[in-house]
Symmetry: D4
Subunit: 229 residues, 8 copies
Amino acid sequence: MTASGNAANFNGQKPTIDPADTAMLLIDHQSGLFQIVKDIDVPQLRANAIALAKAATLLKIPVITTASVPQGPNGPLIPQIHEAAPHAQYVARRGEINAWDNPQFHAAVKATGKKTLVIAGTLTSVCLAFPSIAAVHEGYKVFAVVDASGNHSRLATDLTVARLAQAGVVPIDIMGTLSELQGSWNRPDAQEWANVYTQAMPHYQLLIESYIKAQEVANNHEVLDSQRK
Amino acid sequence: MTASGNAANFNGQKPTIDPADTAMLLIDHQSGLFQIVKDIDVPQLRANAIALAKAATLLKIPVITTASVPQGPNGPLIPQIHEAAPHAQYVARRGEINAWDNPQFHAAVKATGKKTLVIAGTLTSVCLAFPSIAAVHEGYKVFAVVDASGNHSRLATDLTVARLAQAGVVPIDIMGTLSELQGSWNRPDAQEWANVYTQAMPHYQLLIESYIKAQEVANNHEVLDSQRK
Amino acid sequence: MTASGNAANFNGQKPTIDPADTAMLLIDHQSGLFQIVKDIDVPQLRANAIALAKAATLLKIPVITTASVPQGPNGPLIPQIHEAAPHAQYVARRGEINAWDNPQFHAAVKATGKKTLVIAGTLTSVCLAFPSIAAVHEGYKVFAVVDASGNHSRLATDLTVARLAQAGVVPIDIMGTLSELQGSWNRPDAQEWANVYTQAMPHYQLLIESYIKAQEVANNHEVLDSQRK
Amino acid sequence: MTASGNAANFNGQKPTIDPADTAMLLIDHQSGLFQIVKDIDVPQLRANAIALAKAATLLKIPVITTASVPQGPNGPLIPQIHEAAPHAQYVARRGEINAWDNPQFHAAVKATGKKTLVIAGTLTSVCLAFPSIAAVHEGYKVFAVVDASGNHSRLATDLTVARLAQAGVVPIDIMGTLSELQGSWNRPDAQEWANVYTQAMPHYQLLIESYIKAQEVANNHEVLDSQRK
Amino acid sequence: MTASGNAANFNGQKPTIDPADTAMLLIDHQSGLFQIVKDIDVPQLRANAIALAKAATLLKIPVITTASVPQGPNGPLIPQIHEAAPHAQYVARRGEINAWDNPQFHAAVKATGKKTLVIAGTLTSVCLAFPSIAAVHEGYKVFAVVDASGNHSRLATDLTVARLAQAGVVPIDIMGTLSELQGSWNRPDAQEWANVYTQAMPHYQLLIESYIKAQEVANNHEVLDSQRK
Amino acid sequence: MTASGNAANFNGQKPTIDPADTAMLLIDHQSGLFQIVKDIDVPQLRANAIALAKAATLLKIPVITTASVPQGPNGPLIPQIHEAAPHAQYVARRGEINAWDNPQFHAAVKATGKKTLVIAGTLTSVCLAFPSIAAVHEGYKVFAVVDASGNHSRLATDLTVARLAQAGVVPIDIMGTLSELQGSWNRPDAQEWANVYTQAMPHYQLLIESYIKAQEVANNHEVLDSQRK
Amino acid sequence: MTASGNAANFNGQKPTIDPADTAMLLIDHQSGLFQIVKDIDVPQLRANAIALAKAATLLKIPVITTASVPQGPNGPLIPQIHEAAPHAQYVARRGEINAWDNPQFHAAVKATGKKTLVIAGTLTSVCLAFPSIAAVHEGYKVFAVVDASGNHSRLATDLTVARLAQAGVVPIDIMGTLSELQGSWNRPDAQEWANVYTQAMPHYQLLIESYIKAQEVANNHEVLDSQRK
Amino acid sequence: MTASGNAANFNGQKPTIDPADTAMLLIDHQSGLFQIVKDIDVPQLRANAIALAKAATLLKIPVITTASVPQGPNGPLIPQIHEAAPHAQYVARRGEINAWDNPQFHAAVKATGKKTLVIAGTLTSVCLAFPSIAAVHEGYKVFAVVDASGNHSRLATDLTVARLAQAGVVPIDIMGTLSELQGSWNRPDAQEWANVYTQAMPHYQLLIESYIKAQEVANNHEVLDSQRK
């Protein structure tokens, strides 16, 4: 076999994300659906979806959003996604569960001209999985960001990951996605990327807080409280 | 590789469920066997199996049920499945553990004329896995609904999912199955589908209860109790 | 110390529930608040609250219900409680978080003439705990049914149980409460009690299903499927 | 026994928090120490500590903060506490592990004139437990907010709660504390209290988002997307 | 306070088990009820109950057993208890949920002449808790062996332990009970006690298997397989 | 792709176990190594390994056992395997970690003339994985019974299952293995198979105990205790 | 009640550890018994027991150790305890399970002249609990360090903590114990205390490693790798 | 399919590690990043990474290390890796997230002349996954040691393992890696390998401690304490 393994549509290329060829689809991140999510803490899910949107903004990656009947119990799209990606295009559907089945959504994806899709959607088994499988079948390279999606049980997520991998979709997590998009810390907007990680990773925030203080102590020759007279 | 990945028998088609080509097999959902189930809460398992039966009824998908020696410790078939799918056909076996090995069961499947099978069975490792692998080997497209099945341990389920995927069976969860069968909310029986989800997803039930009340408050101009004089 | 331990207000009596001296308070079981519950599965919580209501109905124990601003995000009272206890009295509040602080609620409790209270409320830390502590302080014997209440985390529940026990409230679970109310299977309404347990305990339901079938097999001299020719 | 149970220093009063007699002590919420916390998710801990500070601000309750050698590996105080309680008084120590042992800290508490203390501190076993036990011994009524504290293991927290209850400290959670301080939704600053809960309880935030949208749909007579032509 | 703490009826004596003053009550260990048990693995529960019976046999402690309607769905008493304690007395009840309420059972306990009771019962919240609280109220010293009992949820067990401790019952585990009964390894039947532990503790069995082999290797001067030529 | 999926060496045959072509390898089930096992309870592991040996005995499947330096800290082979499979052949190694590397072991496998291997071994990552991968490479069909093996962490097991599936080994659980070997309940030794399941599945044992009692009650017209006068 | 709560033998004093009045008992930390421990990771248990020994050495607190039949399957005392506390006195027993029952052990404790005991022992339910309860009964103030002990299940630990608290023993964790012994960072041996914490708390070790590096970077004006040319 | 399955670049060879053709890459094991790790305990992660380094030293396998901006919040490389592998070569990067993108690192790997890579890196999703996928694409055989890496969540690890397997990387655990490198216990440095396992597996350490003592008892004819007069 070749090095590209079972990932679909790579045709011998390295199965990684090329930001220049990428569009991002953020599907059905709605406050009602979030109540059903059990495979990830809701604040983490919200933070991860926002982090995707911010990364897309930093890299000027096209973003398309949509919602499943937001006038009903599924609830409204969480507002932070469009706040983090002001350039995102919202496409209303007409009840299609698979966003890919909506002609306007499908056309919007095609109009980006990109052949690599980074997708997240709530519920993972449905709103992420259905468009991912459909897009692979049409020849797209698809990266499914499972921990920016949210599902009704961990078991359901495991089943969906197995189904996605079987269909040639590349399963990926939030940190893998962000870091593959960023590529290097040796870039002018490095601080903005640090902010993205800080919001998505609470323990990274702690690291930075402690790091800054430790340097201040050294630079200012502060005395330890326990050594004060 | 093609976009259809490792899912068996799709021959380049998108590896999704076509309701028009589908029969449903609900195998060995028996009260004794349910006592052994450890990978999913029993009420959720019962609800998921019933939801499958209801969806099949809404779509007039043929349903075949069977039980493993229900006169012994395995116990009777749970009655709600035939209540939810009155058109279901029950096939008694003669002790074969793999339902597929029973000639009457096999003939009943064949008689549906369908080439796509949605299967659930307790225990997952046995009653779901054996017919699924056998059906794939005979050329069927098979979707194994693991969280409508039930198994003796989570580890055993993970092993079975790996085995099923390796054999070309498509692993799937209850929400993926229901939503792929439904396709769209823009259909006359949308309310009946909402009822299916309500039963299978307790948090969706809460959403609907709260949603209806919130709209009543708005429509009736109700005053908040905390603002009453 | 005496045998009555730290349970408040028993004055040397055995610290158990006397159904003849008991009123039941079911507080704030609302569909919105249920979304916040993390210490027990919501279907189990719903079933346990209903079971309490049914037991009260069987024993003609007075039931008082109330809700916290049901016109707002907390959502409506789940309808099954009044269905299971048609004799229950609903008391609207005016924003008081502690139901005991509402004069109408307090008067309703007093009007029952009972000195033992069985209380459940969502959230456990607030809607169960506050009236329980207040009632003990007024001299009531109080049984707090924690697993018919629901809380935002298991840690919060553990803290609340410690606080309640410290205050002299008796912590109790659903099965202890139901069985202490029932007392004996040797009573005319035994079958109705079995129904209560069946709804609240899914594995008990399985036991009964299997038991009935096993007896039918014996009584009808059914042959095992695996022994059929 | 009396209704006040084992809670120390209540002398027959109801063992609840009287905001008018309360000072709040927020001890050692430092970014380094937060890395050690294992009994609660760090974002939840951060949110709970901030919620305490906000509630104190709303009620003008005196707040005293301190840190354990913030110039060393323990790291700086998280900045959000003083942002949420601008009136808080910071007291530097000289290495004393038990803040109560620091004369300035002790004097600051005494200067408030309050006899009820709401305390949170990281680590729970040390920075919360030591001052709580010391304050009870001096005659204060003490409420230890364990899920706004943070500890190195859940087992350690359980041991500490047992120790605190044994010493007459009242263990309490964040929701019990906030709601006991608030008292009623029937107050002019009700919306500000809702904001406090929204930040500390992610699922409550979802409820409010969905509630507002559901009312907008009703008020604006919006059509469901799935019913659009 | 005295050293005997809150344990009821010790009157200044050390709150430990005196085998010479002890009777053992093993209540409702039935195969149907075991299906409901969720707070301990069923094989461990079965082994622990058997270990209690064996220890009683070694020490000639009186054992009284009973069952709750074993002709119904609760199922038969597990046979191993009477096998392990052939001297045990079985007392049939007439539907009383609390065994203590059955006159024959109560008389049988009284007839032992013992004032210390070691009790285990399935379900913990009911079959263990009710007789324990009643016995304390009558002046018995009671040790409730919670992990030889079995309950419908871990939360329910925690609530029951809090209730039992509040009522003056001493909560205890299987190893504490067995070791307090045994007292010393310096006794003629030490090997029989080792067998009791081996059955109840699988990892102790491994220790003994490895220990015996290691000594055989040393005594027989066996060569390591990896050092064979 | 064909229906046989990624399972190695099936060449278009259904990827299931043919008892007539099967040898069983039980590797390094030693009391010391069992102390390291963390992915399954040790009693369950012991029972599962014994169940494999019993099934092989019922079907006269050749069994080969071996141990890794049983004279050292790894400890002796657990004796129950040879007790359950008296026909098993023990092959001593000379320190080779992969049993397949030992010429005598390899020859013993070859001498069986079977081309399908059912393998279990402690640790899963090593003693099961290494011979499984080697045997596949030599053209054997290999079924790796992961929950009759035992590993140092659940994460390690998940990694090993992924590696095994990638290498063409079929991952399988104990129930799948036993049931695929048994095939049907309609066979003369059905009762002996029931005994195998009873030992390996504690909840199945409960089912049988309750089933027998329920039939006795019906056949003997026993009166419920709760209906006795 | 007084501020000293239910802790036994404090007689109105603050229920905290006075190092000057303290002896430490480290009981049965043996390599075989450690295999049985399930309520805490073994490396953490080993580290916590060593940390106690080191703290005692820093403060010259008398330490008494003992072992339960170390010539048998229980295995030898782990050597690190005497390495960390070279001044510790080892007392051999004669098979008594409760170390307190051994006259030499009891005499050794008495000979220290201390009235406060810090005790840890494996298993918690037995080797920690029995001497703790006995010592309280003789008038000692006892602190039971549960997470430096180790038990066969978490449930058993919870039961034992409830029993200990009921008997007047003070339950405590490792960090509470170490910090109460240390008292202040403002002491000449502060660095040695930091080393004690570093060994017992892996995340504290990380904090210190990162802190030192951050200060070095500041002091040496190191350039970030990502800013190198 | 062939026996080598989906593992990339084996070309029909057995997909196992040949130590003679292997280089080891240990990437970004830094004290700050370790604070973020949630899928494995940090002490275990540290021990596993060290064990890899030691095994490489024993076999003279080339080791290349690197760190991601160690001057910033990610913190310094843990020192134990170079202590355990003094021959390791450290390569500084210039901010590239994927070490493979750094020309010096890539050249260092190539200079080893090895075609098989054993890789571990923190975070698993990034620092392990990116170079692994890149190396497979260049034709290397790659073994990714996931439990010597460390990731921000268990879900992220599961997603990464699926991605790695899909890309043809071989997922493996620490024990599989060490044992495949060692090959046999029948070698002169067997004792040094035992030391490697002892450090990485705490329960193996216990086995060895108990084994040595058991043999000493036999060899020295020690009397059991419980049999002393």
